[in-house]
């Protein structure tokens, strides 16, 4: 059964007051994500991939189309607060910029305390703190180094791990990872990816990477969707998309990415 079904999803932004202009950010896209599947939505900035992510997360309203998560239309079938809570817990996100993911006015563990708002069970303060510490350890952090610190006092890699620790607390069924590694150093990138993969192994989580990095998509995903100017132009398994691209744009994209083991042609 598909965990997430997206059907004919579109988003049009209108800008300007007197002379209103419409900008189509996402144009009629459809795809499905299965249980435990890792799927990547690849595109350059402005391709509409982040807008898609925000619609899936129920942060902005689609102009048309349907998003069905676990059999429920997320805009029409979620009515009670309880249902919304359930949805927010089941579909969660890790964002691109570890610096923008933390409000500089609060200690970093605030983001984990927030997670308890979504839980069904009530936890005492001590129980909650223990859970927070456990999940920090799970993502390879020492609670001593983290608790009580402010965002500017810890590194980007550490921040991203805390975001994943928040997901460990919630145990969502689906994680949307919006460029989770683009702003951290290469040497800590692998760790972040492994943590997400571990989550999938242990919890059966489906993961959707939103990224401009075809290398990352190729490495981690079961399936790649290539997006350009609001449309999905290619959809296939990673080897097909990268080694045997069909769409003209994907060909150019693959042909332009600098490789490590081969020199680019015609350079």
């Amino acid at each position: 059964m598909s965990r997430l079904v997206v059907k004919n999803l579109s988003k049009v932004f209108s800008i300007g007051f007197l002379a209103r202009r419409n900008v189509e950010a996402v144009k009629n896209i459809s795809f499905e994500v299965k249980e435990k599947e890792i799927i990547s939505l690849v595109g350059e900035s402005g391709s509409g991939k982040s807008t898609t992510a925000k619609m899936l997360l129920r942060l902005i309203h689609p102009t048309s189309g349907k998003i069905v998560f676990e059999g429920k239309d997320i805009w029409n079938d979620i009515k009670t607060n309880q249902e919304l809570k359930e949805f927010r817990r089941s579909l969660h996100a890790v964002f691109q910029d570890p610096f923008a993911s933390f409000n500089p006015f609060y200690p970093v563990e605030r983001t984990m305390w927030q997670a308890f708002r979504l839980m069904d069970k009530e936890y005492s303060k001590n129980e909650a703190l223990e859970l927070i510490k456990d999940s920090l350890v799970k993502v390879g952090l020492d609670p001593k180094d983290i608790l009580g610190k402010y965002p500017h006092q810890i590194s980007g890699g550490q921040k991203q791990r805390i975001m994943i620790a928040r997901c460990w607390l919630l145990k969502p069924k689906f994680i949307i990872a919006d460029e989770p590694t683009s702003m951290i150093d290469a040497s800590s990138r692998g760790g972040i990816i492994k943590l997400l993969l571990k989550l999938r192994e242990e919890q059966g989580t489906s993961i959707m990477f939103i990224t401009h990095d075809l290398g990352l998509a190729y490495y981690v995903s079961d399936r790649i969707l290539v997006m350009k100017e609001g449309r999905i132009v290619e959809d296939g398994n990673p080897d097909d998309v990268v080694l045997n691209p069909q769409h003209e744009y994907t060909k150019i994209l693959v042909g332009s990415i600098p490789k490590l083991y081969r020199k680019l042609e015609d350079i």
Binding site: D185, K194, S256
Partner: protein
């Protein structure tokens, strides 16, 4: 064997703050040969951008040259530019002998005048007849695949990729010997990145610039265009070798770690897997003793903690700073 264009000898460049020093570049020596592209890689905060400022002698407080010297070959003679003031170097070398493509090249053009006007002002500053430089600019625009008509436009009328190309054209107008490119591609999409790299290579092929130093965190990019790669970590050079050899067999464990964290869409990468270097880069106010990488190094030995490895040539053209390859390995 060509001669070296720049010799960097034991350079130490620190940010001197009120009560602390950030040792951004600490005792670094290497040479930039004539007719080579050298790629400088390292993670954020390793001192690679400081290094490009040292090369330009763009030393503005709190950055201070604490020791060492930089020699630049000009008219067949080596000039010790690190002993000159910033203003002197600027007057004599910038634009003419060495030039820069800054990090966000897309915003590097003066926004409210036409490009041709900018070129004219540049001619004035260098005491060249305006028309001569304009003619050259038109030619150079063609070289970078831009219609010379764009010279009569304002920067904001050009697209991002076009602006980037205009910047290269203008940066190389006076045929500088050395071109310093400081993370020039990070703001571009991959298609434009490739165009950019192509133009850079073409400039060198045509002899418009002699040598290029390309600073980046992206090893795959270096792999595409550079002859040699210089790996920096915590203000030190860890390894400097021809790119092919490094990719084939990295010597320093840090280089190896960096290579193994590269993610490009290639089957080899998928087969090889991706690894992480544990821990985080040290702060440069109180760097670790001995080899600065030893706290994170999987192959660290007891000597690494005590002594600092020297950058030594262990194979022709390959220099590594690591006790794994030195006599002192105890």
């Amino acid at each position: 064997m060509s001669e070296s264009l720049v010799k960097i000898e034991n350079i130490r460049a620190y940010y001197k703050l009120k009560n602390r020093e950030v040792k951004a570049v600490d005792n670094v020596s290497f040479e930039i040969m004539e007719n080579e592209i050298i790629g400088v890689v390292g993670e954020s905060g390793c001192g690679k951008s400081t290094l490009s400022n040292v090369l330009l002698n763009n030393i503005i407080k709190p950055l201070t040259i604490v020791g060492g010297r930089v020699l630049f070959k000009s008219n067949g003679e080596y000039v010790e530019i690190s002993s000159l003031t910033r203003e002197e170097v600027r007057e004599r070398f910038w634009g003419k002998e060495m030039s820069l493509i800054p990090q966000s090249a897309m915003n590097a053009l003066m926004p409210t005048i036409k490009l041709s006007k900018y070129v004219e002002h540049l001619a004035q500053s260098h005491g060249i007849p305006k028309n001569e430089l304009l003619k050259k600019a038109r030619k150079r625009f063609e070289d970078v695949d831009l219609d010379p008509q764009w010279l009569n436009r304002y920067p904001f009328e050009l697209s991002g990729g076009m602006r980037q190309r205009a910047v290269i054209a203008i940066a190389t107008l006076l045929n500088p010997q050395l071109l310093i490119a400081d993370e020039p591609t990070s703001a571009l999409d991959v298609v434009n990145q490739k165009v950019f790299l192509k133009i850079l290579l073409e400039m060198k092929r045509q002899g418009i610039v002699k040598s290029i130093i390309f600073v980046t965190h992206d090893i795959a990019t270096i792999r595409q265009i550079a002859d040699r790669m210089l790996v920096m970590y915590a203000g030190k050079i860890m390894e400097i070798s021809p790119v092919d050899k490094i990719v084939e067999k990295p010597l320093n464990p840090y280089t190896e770690g960096l290579l193994n964290s590269v993610l490009t869409p290639e089957p080899e990468i998928k087969k090889r897997g991706i690894t992480t270097i544990p821990g985080t880069p040290p702060n440069l106010i109180e760097p670790p003793s001995g080899c600065r990488f030893h706290p994170r190094c999987p192959k660290a030995m007891s000597v690494c903690k005590e002594k600092e490895p020297k950058l030594v040539e262990i194979e022709p053209q390959r220099k590594v700073a690591c006790f794994l390859y030195s006599e002192e390995r105890a």
